[in-house]
């Protein structure tokens, strides 16, 4: 069983880096079957990343208010077909890979952080977005745990530790190889 944790975004575009930062923080890389990838790929190029995986958790930014909210989205509620393939996003990439007869993840969770600005090159991340990173990371861990990917031992990194680390990016980077929460702490996510 393989899980792809895919952080999407552009690290030069302020708030848009949030998906990358969450993936960096999640710290499930050392678990068997889990691959954590940070990527700036777009459109149908996402096929290359998601193809062949059993499960996937995608972390991305979402323009909206209030800034810094963390949402769990159901990919199936996104449009399944863009008006033309040229406007493809993740739902189309998945659909196309599936249509093309290749193996796509059977479970896909999307964790989104609402952002203000993703068009300014070299911009700093909004503090509210930065502050949402620990919460988003812990949601990713919870989903992974509910799907059976977390270790069975006691939680090595309780959520409280994240809150303490706050918005300090240096501190969050250090967390990258922390262990995941115990599945016992994670309510099963209904499918």
């Amino acid at each position: 069983m393989t899980l792809l944790i895919l952080g999407l975004g552009n690290d030069l575009l302020g708030d848009d880096a949030v998906g990358l930062r969450v993936a960096e923080r999640v710290g499930l890389e050392r678990l068997p079957g889990v691959e954590t990838v940070q990527s700036s790929a777009a459109g149908l190029y996402l096929i290359d990343l998601i193809e062949g995986q059993d499960d996937a958790i995608v972390i991305d930014s979402l323009p909206g208010d209030p800034v810094g909210s963390v949402l769990e989205l159901d990919l199936r509620k996104f449009a399944r077909v863009a008006p033309s393939a040229h406007y493809a996003g993740l739902p189309e990439a998945l659909r196309m890979a599936e249509d093309a007869g290749t193996k796509v993840p059977r479970r896909v969770a999307v964790v989104a952080v609402t952002i203000r600005d993703a068009q300014t090159v070299g911009a700093a991340m909004d503090p509210a977005v930065e502050a949402a990173i620990p919460k988003a990371a812990s949601i990713v861990r919870r989903i992974a745990g509910a799907w059976g990917y977390a270790p069975s031992g006691p939680a090595a990194e309780p959520e409280a530790a994240h809150r303490r680390s706050g918005a300090d990016s240096a501190a969050t980077r250090k967390d990258r190889h922390d262990r995941a929460e115990s599945p016992s702490r994670s309510p099963a996510r209904p499918r």
Binding site: A41, F78, A82, P83, S84, H86, A88, D99, V121
Partner: protein, 490 residues
């Protein structure tokens, strides 16, 4: 009553254009505009940073063609530092670049442009996708395309370190040698890549070229403009993706200019329109005369159609045969039909695959001399590559420490912007009449720009990712009468 129809894909993933169509009292098209919301600021962001970081920074401009920006920046650094890369480095770079062109063109052929052609431009929307392609071409096609691209991208990753932001090019060379063991593996993949390219060629021929309706669409006036064409050519005038001079041919196919990338400012100028941020490039010697084609207009075009028009041949044997047949079919060079871009792309798939195999079979790519260290003081660097979507020029100046003092990046879509604007306008006029705008018509308008495979510096990824096309209809005084959303996101 005049009204406005806006096709507004709000995605920042791929596509990212917007079409505004103005209708007159009778519901005929007055004018259609193609707008590109540009991501600006990269050039400013580069100033004050180390020149050697430019290949990494600029590869973040676009989530679609990072390899093209990486390579253009790397070559501009050679020029900035006045260093000639070693032969091994040049070969390795061109090999990486050929792999990239092969996999990128394949993606477009099957997933982006393919559905229009293989399934048909007016087919129901539900069928106009890769599934439709597969129904026509066989179930194994999709799997094969995905598997081949995955294998090719694996090689790019092996050479470039990371697929998305390659760490490969350095001034004077590349970062990592290729072992003989790896070369042999690359050669194996290249053989499969060539088989795959031949398969693409056969499929296009079988499904598209043998169907008179499609060929009629390609040559129809709605998708035809008689402009200038520009592309990189080697010393023999043959098409080249990685290096060469920029050759411009006039609408009758005669050479109009040939110049190194270094001289681009002498030949190209920018025109600004009030309705878009895009700077329209045109030929300085002919001048800007509005959105009009013909020999007196300075509008020119880049990308596959233009590259084949600008070149006097292709350097590999199978692609050269296809090149000859392509021009025979259309009655000579140049070809002015926008939709012929798709066929030209197939020819380039074969060329990229053949060139990849040539380079991977050359034991010299595994030589250890991958870099010549720069010793001169950096000053100014200008270079061009052919991105999948056309000529890409990077231009930098730096201080003596190599800190950038200016940057100018001319992307493919800017070269093509004027012709794309004309194509969209013409296609809208040809398809929309009496105020009736349906899905098939809008798709035919979109086809006009999809053929160019335009890329709009869309480096961000915010959800939903999929783009609703918004069609807004405005009354004479600008009031919104109706909004149609096609393929809504959330």
């Amino acid at each position: 009553m005049s009204r406005q129809v806006v096709i507004d894909p709000i995605t920042r993933l791929e596509g990212h254009g917007r079409i505004a169509i103005f209708l007159d009292d009778k519901g005929e098209v007055q004018r259609a505009y193609f707008q590109i919301p540009e991501l600006r600021g990269f050039e400013k962001f580069l100033v004050g940073r180390r020149a050697e970081d430019a290949p990494q920074i600029t590869s973040r401009i676009c989530g679609v063609c990072p390899t093209a920006h990486h390579m253009a920046a790397t070559k501009a650094l050679d020029d900035l530092y006045h260093v000639e890369p070693t032969e091994t480095a040049k070969k390795l770079r061109e090999m990486l670049y050929s792999i990239f062109m092969l996999e990128d063109h394949a993606l477009h052929l099957f997933f982006l442009g393919g559905p229009d052609f293989v399934v048909g431009p007016t087919a129901p929307k539900a069928e106009r996708n890769v599934l439709g392609v597969i129904q026509k071409a066989g179930l194994e096609v999709g799997k094969r395309v995905i598997a081949m691209r995955k294998e090719l991208r694996g090689l790019i990753q092996e050479l470039g370190g990371r697929v998305i932001h390659p760490v490969f090019g350095l001034p004077g060379g590349v970062a990592k040698p290729l072992s003989e063991e790896a070369r042999q593996r690359f050669e194996e993949v290249a053989r499969r890549g060539l088989d795959f390219a031949v398969f693409c060629e056969g499929l296009f021929e079988e499904v598209v070229l043998k169907n008179k309706a499609y060929v009629d669409a390609i040559v129809s006036d709605a998708y035809t403009h008689r402009t200038y064409y520009a592309g990189l050519v080697d010393a023999q005038g043959r098409e080249n993706f990685y290096d060469g001079q920029i050759r411009v041919v006039d609408p009758s196919g005669k050479e109009f200019a040939k110049f190194p990338a270094r001289d681009y400012l002498k030949h190209l100028e920018e025109h600004v329109e009030p309705w878009t941020y895009v700077k329209f490039l045109y030929l300085k010697a002919k001048g800007w005369h509005g959105f009009t084609d013909g020999p007196e207009s300075g509008i020119y075009s880049v990308a596959p159609l233009a590259r084949l028009n600008a070149a006097s041949g292709v350097a590999t044997p199978r692609a050269q045969d296809l090149y000859r047949r392509y021009f025979e079919t259309f009655g000579g060079r140049p070809v002015h039909h926008t939709l012929a871009n798709h066929w030209a792309r197939v020819i380039e798939i074969v060329y990229a695959a053949e060139r990849f195999l040539e380079l991977a079979s050359d034991p010299a790519v595994a030589n250890p001399d991958i870099r010549r260290m720069p010793t001169a003081t950096p000053t100014e660097g200008i270079a061009a590559v052919e991105a999948p979507r056309g000529i890409l020029i990077h231009h930098y100046t730096s201080d003596e420490r190599g800190i950038l003092t200016s940057a100018n990046l001319l992307v493919a879509t800017q070269h093509n912007a004027a012709r794309i604007a004309m194509s969209v306008d013409k296609a809208a006029r040809a398809t929309i009449h009496g105020g009736v705008v349906d899905d098939g018509m809008l798709n035919q308008v979109e086809m006009a720009f999809r053929a160019y495979d335009p890329c709009h510096a869309c480096a961000t990824h915010s959800l939903p990712g999929s783009a609703p096309l918004k069609v807004q209809i405005f009354g004479p005084s600008g009031e919104l009468i109706r909004t149609i959303v096609r393929g809504s996101g959330t």
